[in-house]
Symmetry: C2
Subunit: 87 residues, 2 copies
Amino acid sequence: MFVILVYDVKEKRVGKALKVCRRYLHWVQNSVFEGELSRAQMERLRSDLREVLNLEEDSVVIYKFRTKHYFQRQTMGVEKGGEEEFI
Amino acid sequence: MFVILVYDVKEKRVGKALKVCRRYLHWVQNSVFEGELSRAQMERLRSDLREVLNLEEDSVVIYKFRTKHYFQRQTMGVEKGGEEEFI
């Protein structure tokens, strides 16, 4: 499946969350990641995130798609990362 | 079209960016918005954002879909906003 993940994580934990997400996904912007994951990888990502986050303070939104052909991505302003992975 | 918008905006401009995005979309999380827009509304949103942002420092990623039926959204942790709009 193709995944867009966005997190809103307190500063003290954001480094760890970044590291986990980069292990599975490509970085797009500050708190946004994209990538193709198997079901097993998705489960591991969620489990690794649960280990580093405080789910009473932090928030993660995961959008799942069958393929990435269902959407178009446009960027305004600074291109912060990962873009070249998808051209 | 259905739109997911994520911004990474410097703190001094984030209030204005939030206000613009809320005018067109539903707030999902810190810097994430969703909603159904016409092509004209999308153009106005982009133009309003250009007025409040510094595009040399700020970044906005817009994902566009024909419909919202192409994805599933999952949240981990705190539900921060807008969720009830889509149930």
